[in-house]
């Protein structure tokens, strides 16, 4: 139950509460929230460069799936695969990828300000990209 409390506290501190609430398993719930939770971009999750082609994205997904999928030998829990799949699902779809790239660029601009806010204030501000209207 302690995990409940922590995840709720995080939610309470966020600008838009609710989406990532719930028990431990539910903390990382959405593709967009993922980056905030793990600090890794979809490109980092896949180990792909920003200019990676669709074929490269797919190959990276398969290669990593064989490492992190719970069914794979030595694979971990569900979390790793859910993250990997979210990254793949976004980057393998040209429209989704374009939107994501735009959001990341927009976020980079806002990053400095947010970092300042995070270090000064006690509350960790969890944000989701769709709702972050930076312009």
């Amino acid at each position: 139950m302690a995990t409940f409390a922590t995840s709720r506290a995080a939610v309470m501190g966020s600008a838009r509460p609710g989406r990532v609430a719930g028990p431990r398993r539910c903390v990382v719930t959405r593709a967009s929230a993922m980056m905030a939770a793990t600090g890794r971009t979809h490109y980092e999750v896949l180990g792909a460069g920003a200019g990676a082609s669709r074929v490269e994205i797919k190959a990276a997904y398969r290669r990593l799936a064989r490492k992190v999928h719970p069914d794979a030998a030595g694979g971990g829990g569900d979390e790793g695969f859910i993250q990997l799949h979210a990254a793949y699902a976004t980057l393998a779809d040209p429209d989704e990828r374009a939107r994501y790239d735009r959001d990341v660029a927009c976020r980079a601009a806002g990053m400095m300000m947010r970092r300042a806010a995070a270090t000064s204030g006690p509350a960790f501000r969890r944000r989701t990209w769709e709702t972050d209207k930076c312009w």
């Binding site: 139950m1 028990p23 719930t29 190959a59 064989r66 069914d71 695969f81």
Partner: protein, 580 residues
């Protein structure tokens, strides 16, 4: 106990390398329970091997014969040659078959209603409870359940495998139709438990075929340095009871299921359509007219003659049917292939619909498909072949897969992989990324259905959604979990329900309730729900509920809940504009 057994087994096998012996006993077997035929396969240390019964059959007729005090299933088929069950014995009323069509269904289900024409007793009250099923033993109806029948069958199947392997078997991977609800899956698990088998995985049939295909592609690549390019396969499976489609993307030993679709349509429906066509007053024959034994005998004779005709029409343009059904009832007709196709038009249309749906869900066009794989007994029907190939714009189907053995071989492969077996040749170095076949969600916005995990989401999966109250100061909310494709909750399968209590007083629409659904790699579904806004000391803890909770799929539960609570405990989807 178990360890002792293993010691005995390895003692008796003095040859062979020890390593294989040690790892052997834990390897899960693959079982394909078909509506009409079953088969079982094992990983023999080097490859998949289909087992044969004492009559040298790989495909064993799925039925259980009730006779006096003895029960015998189709695995042995009556044990000895003298007592071998003939088809007419199976249709005499004392055998129960088509378990896969009946299991986990309520008496209001149209599939159960259609099963009333089978030559054993399927009695329905039409109130959403399980049907009453009975076999005729010494002119008396002896009741049973589909789970029990399946368990007896599996017990015989298990004995066959153990006799072959000379050690006990515990784990199994079974193939199931895509259209099976989660409730039906629990019934299969129950039947397996009754037979002493632990279900390691339930695999949708076409995904088992996809795994076999992935293995073959992997092998090809190693043999002639293939390109390793992603290959898209459309797998179409139609057996006696169900029809399934899967689109898989395969490369580097990873088989990713891009989309799944299925429906309860198969050879049994084709058979019934043709029987009705041959004998227009067929339904009155099935409805208690005349002495029971005579009636069942007539139905059995008609069934056999029709089945024979359908088989012949796979290779001939027309066939003549001459059957004396007794009691002056005769069928004499020349049936052409065109007529046969006309009679089954609706079935072919359903097949077409699910293929189109599957392709569109996978976001692919026929041009993207590299291989079309046709499996299942009814895939031999010329019209079905031409229909699938036509839709996929292909001249021919993939040839390196046996249409009747593919599913069970895939299940045995998965059994070996899931048991942690590795093969030096790399032939088990495979991974299947499964997808959810149906939408999963809860009842919301009146009688609506809010899908939280949409169909064809990669598994493991986790999604959540926000809901709100529909009444001022609503203290409790009902979370009714459904699975299916319908837009209305009640059109889908109810998996279970629970209440969230102690919601802090607030005007309607102000409270935020999060419902999260989680499917793990073992395909277990859990639902988490609780209040996320407002927060405070009084906020009740979250609930975690494993689904399905219904232990008997009561078709009337949804209605009973509606009658009891009306809209007092309803939830509404929180409008998207607030939560993009």
């Amino acid at each position: 106990m178990a360890e002792q057994f293993y010691t005995v087994a390895s003692d008796s096998e003095t040859t062979g390398d020890d390593k294989a012996q040690q790892s052997f006993p834990d390897v899960a077997i693959g079982i394909d329970i078909g509506t009409s035929r079953c088969s079982v396969a094992i990983w023999n240390g080097h490859q998949v091997e289909l087992l044969k019964n004492t009559r040298s059959q790989k495909g064993m007729r799925s039925y259980v014969m009730f006779k006096d005090d003895t029960l015998s299933a189709g695995v042995t088929g009556g044990a000895t040659k003298e007592h071998a069950h003939e088809e007419r014995d199976i249709l005499s009323g004392s055998a129960i078959f088509n378990m896969k069509r009946l299991i986990g269904r309520m008496d209001t289900d149209e599939v159960v209603q259609a099963s009333k024409t089978l030559p054993f007793l399927v009695q329905t009250l039409g109130i959403g409870v399980r049907p009453f099923i009975a076999a005729l033993v010494n002119n008396m109806w002896r009741s049973t359940t589909p789970e029990e029948v399946l368990a007896i069958f599996l017990l015989e199947l298990k004995a066959l495998v153990e006799m072959h392997l000379k050690h006990p078997v515990r784990n199994a991977v079974l193939t199931i139709p895509v259209a099976f609800s989660r409730f039906q899956q629990t019934r299969i698990e129950r039947a397996c438990a009754m037979a002493g088998l632990h279900v390691l995985r339930l695999m949708p049939e076409p995904t088992a075929v996809a795994l076999l295909y992935a293995q073959q592609q992997q092998q090809l690549m190693q043999d002639n340095m293939g390109s390793g390019i992603e290959k898209i396969a459309l797998i179409f499976n139609i057996g006696a009871g169900y029809c399934d489609v899967a689109v898989s993307a395969t490369a580097g030993g990873v088989s990713q299921i891009r989309a799944l679709a299925g429906c309860t349509v198969g050879g049994e429906d084709i058979l019934q359509n043709v029987m009705r066509h041959l004998l227009p007053d067929y339904d009155s024959l099935c409805d208690n007219a005349g002495p029971t034994t005579d009636r069942i005998k007539s139905m059995g004779l008609l069934r056999m003659a029709t089945q024979d005709a359908i088989h012949k029409l796979a290779s001939q343009e027309s066939t003549e049917i001459n059957a004396d059904l007794g009691n002056g009832l005769k069928v004499s007709k020349l049936l052409s292939r065109a007529e046969f196709e006309q009679v089954n038009q609706a079935i072919f249309e359903k097949c077409e619909r699910i293929i189109k749906q599957c392709l569109s869900d996978a976001k692919l066009t026929p041009e993207d498909i590299n291989d079309v794989i046709l499996v299942g007994g009814c895939s031999r029907i010329p019209k079905i072949r031409s229909l699938v190939l036509g839709l996929c714009k292909k001249g021919d189907s993939y040839g390196s897969i046996d249409d009747l053995e593919a599913a069970v071989s895939g299940a045995a492969l998965e059994g070996a992989i899931a048991s942690g077996v590795t093969d030096p040749s790399g032939s088990l170095d495979l991974l299947t990324i499964q997808a959810t076949p149906m939408n999963l969600g809860i009842r919301a916005d009146g009688d609506g259905f809010a899908a939280i995990i949409p169909r064809n989401t990669a598994v493991p999966a986790r999604r959540d959604m926000l809901f709100t109250t529909t009444q001022d100061n609503q203290a409790e909310a009902l979370i009714a979990v459904y699975e299916g494709e319908g837009e209305q909750a009640e059109e889908n399968h109810l998996l279970g329900y629970f209440k969230i209590t102690g919601i802090p007083p607030a005007p309607k629409g102000a409270v935020e309730i999060s419902v999260c659904m989680d499917i793990d790699a073992g395909n277990v579904l859990r639902v988490f729900a609780g209040v996320v806004k407002p927060q405070g000391e009084a906020t009740p803890p979250f609930m975690e509920v494993r689904m399905p909770t219904l232990d008997d799929g009561h078709g009337w539960c949804g209605q009973a809940l509606a009658k009891m609570y009306g809209s007092k405990l309803d939830l509404a989807v929180l409008p998207k504009k607030l939560h993009p």
